[in-house]
């Protein structure tokens, strides 16, 4: 049974004003338990709005969001319990930190869930470990941390609630390349260890290509694809038409195929590409430097 489902979901901003704008229209999708879904789309494609409907932060204009088969808006008063089950990390989450110490800030979510001080603390430590926050930072003020550390602290604040579904909106935006790689690896590890469902919104096709099982492609408020990553990236030209692209290495491989090199058009990582190309060039008898 899918953990999250939407049925004909539509959201309109500023209904009845001159600023009225349809952000999401008629999206019906379903996500299975334990999946790692990548969400991509051009700026203004409706992906941010869509993910905010999934944990009940915004109420859809029409259509339904089902969590474990139940409409989350069935009892609007209990919407908070939905937010504990579907954790959401916003873009630039470091701007949400407010407590005196980092550990207290991470404990904010668990305490809102009604956990005891001790339980909340335990969860906070575990979450900090998952996001790679050093223990000596936990007693500092969040405003003393560096940008990357603040980001980790904020993500830990959501992970500490141990949500069944974790949604991350561009968690690596503005980080240096190494920081990106480490954070992504940690999210991947979190996904593996906990077996939770993860939705990752990103503009980086490389990041998405490496991590996601399936891709959701949004364009103009509509759901264009929800398919295995490899399959989506084989539609290179359609993606470019939506202002998106495929990972660079995939593009290179697709161009090589046009030149007559036998290769997999949905190669997503450099490692895989190397594994295919070396034997080919060796078999052609060319020298290795040509690669």
């Amino acid at each position: 049974m899918p953990i999250i489902e939407t049925k004909n979901l539509t959201y309109i901003y500023g209904q009845g004003t001159p600023f009225e704008k349809v952000a999401v229209e008629g999206v019906s999708l379903s996500v299975e338990k334990g999946e790692f879904i990548g969400v991509i789309g051009h700026t203004g494609s409706g992906k941010s709005t869509l993910i905010q409907t999934l944990n009940g932060l915004i109420r859809p204009t029409s259509g339904q969001v089902l969590l474990d088969g139940r409409d989350i808006w069935q009892e609007p008063k209990k919407i908070r319990s939905v937010r504990f089950r579907v954790g959401m990390v916003f873009q630039y989450p470091e701007y949400q930190l407010f407590e005196e110490t980092v550990i207290k800030d991470i404990m904010f979510g668990p305490k809102n869930m009604g956990l005891s001080e001790g339980e909340a603390r335990e969860r906070a430590y575990e979450a900090a470990r998952f996001t790679g926050l050093k223990e000596e930072l936990l007693t500092k003020s969040p405003f003393e941390l560096s940008g990357g550390e603040k980001r980790r602290a904020a993500i830990a604040g959501v992970i500490a609630m141990d949500p069944e579904v974790l949604i991350l909106d561009e968690p690596t935006a503005g980080l240096d390349p190494r920081g990106r790689d480490v954070l992504l690896a940690q999210i991947g590890q979190y996904h593996c260890e906990r077996g939770n469902t993860v939705l990752l919104v990103s503009h980086s096709m490389e990041d998405i290509g490496r991590t996601a099982d399936r891709l959701l492609v949004m364009s103009g408020g509509h759901e264009q694809y929800l398919a295995p990553t490899k399959e989506v990236f084989s539609h290179g030209e359609e993606l470019e038409g939506m202002g998106l692209r495929v990972p660079q290495i995939t593009k290179i491989m697709q161009e090589l195929i046009k030149l007559g090199v036998p290769a997999d058009p949905s190669t997503l990582t450099v490692d895989r590409a190397v594994k295919q190309l070396i034997p080919y060039f060796k078999s052609r008898g060319g020298d290795k430097n040509a690669v």
């Binding site: 916003f90 701007y95 407010f98 604040g157």
Partner: protein, 272 residues
């Protein structure tokens, strides 16, 4: 939601009111408000109200938005109207103990409510049809004579521009931070007043931090563009008093003439 606030918001459209010179619009708003408050009888009041309604009609902004701008002050309108009913002088129409209602009280109450409503509507026409930049440009120009008295008019206008520019930005930011804290289970909708104020802390602290950050960034950006106040500064968009503006001005003069005639010739309807 926060985005529902309409007071002081600009709604872009193509209309005579949008095209009119902002300086003229500010003067006209003040002018109509003065008319409304000096109207002594129903005919002159109707004329002034009609003039404001004409402005609303010409602005091509849906009536719904005007009504929405009245919503926040609905209580004040009702409160003053009710208060005025009981404070009339003259012979009572209806009496119960020491509470009495007079004809004069009813009229006063009607006049007061019409005045408050039109006051808001007139200023809404101005803010709905004038972008914040235009508004501050116009204010700077109108206050320019004060610069001779060493009043820092340009700095004042610049501060206003920045403040107005930051309102939507900070609203958006508040919305974002609130969403982020709600996603962590912050409960802002229930509980008593103390609890609600406490629930604001997780929103206010990040908001202040971000406001300061933005202020520093803006100051750096302005300095790196060599901003040094109003001296010798030119405007990208020059204010221009065109044909439409002369027509609008003419209409105002005609209305003023008619208004004075009605106010003086006809007997006053209310006693002040």
């Amino acid at each position: 939601m926060l985005s529902d606030i309409t007071l002081g918001q600009y709604f872009p459209a193509k209309s005579i009111m949008h095209r009119a010179d902002p300086r003229l619009k500010i003067c006209l708003t003040v002018f109509s408000i003065v008319l409304i408050f000096s109207a002594g009888n129903f005919f002159s009041l109707a004329l002034a109200v009609g003039y404001i309604i004409l402005g609303m009609a010409l602005s091509k902004i849906p009536l719904k938005l005007y009504l929405k701008s009245l919503k926040p002050i609905l209580f004040i309108i009702i409160f003053t109207a009710v208060l005025n009913i009981f404070y009339g002088t003259g012979d009572p129409i209806w009496q119960w103990g020491f509470i009495k209602i007079t004809r004069n009280g009813l009229l006063n109450s009607l006049f007061v409510s019409v005045r408050i409503i039109t006051l808001i509507l007139a200023s809404s026409v101005l803010t709905f049809t004038t972008s914040p930049t235009q508004l501050t440009d116009a204010i700077e120009r109108l206050l320019k004579p004060l610069a001779k008295l060493k009043v820092p008019v340009h700095e004042f206008a610049m501060m206003m521009t920045i403040a107005l520019r930051f309102v939507p930005l900070l609203l958006e930011e508040t919305d974002k931070i609130m969403s982020a804290q709600k996603a962590r289970g912050a409960d802002m909708e229930s509980g008593g007043i103390v609890q609600r104020i406490k629930a604001l802390v997780p929103v206010l602290i990040p908001l202040f931090v971000s406001a300061f950050r933005r202020a520093f960034d803006l100051a750096t950006a302005m300095e790196s563009r060599c901003y040094n106040g109003g001296e010798g500064r030119t405007k990208m968009k020059q204010l221009h008093f065109g044909a439409v503006d002369w027509m609008v001005l003419l209409s105002a003069i005609l209305v003023l003439g008619a208004f004075m005639a009605l106010n003086i010739v006809l007997p006053p309807s209310i006693v002040r």
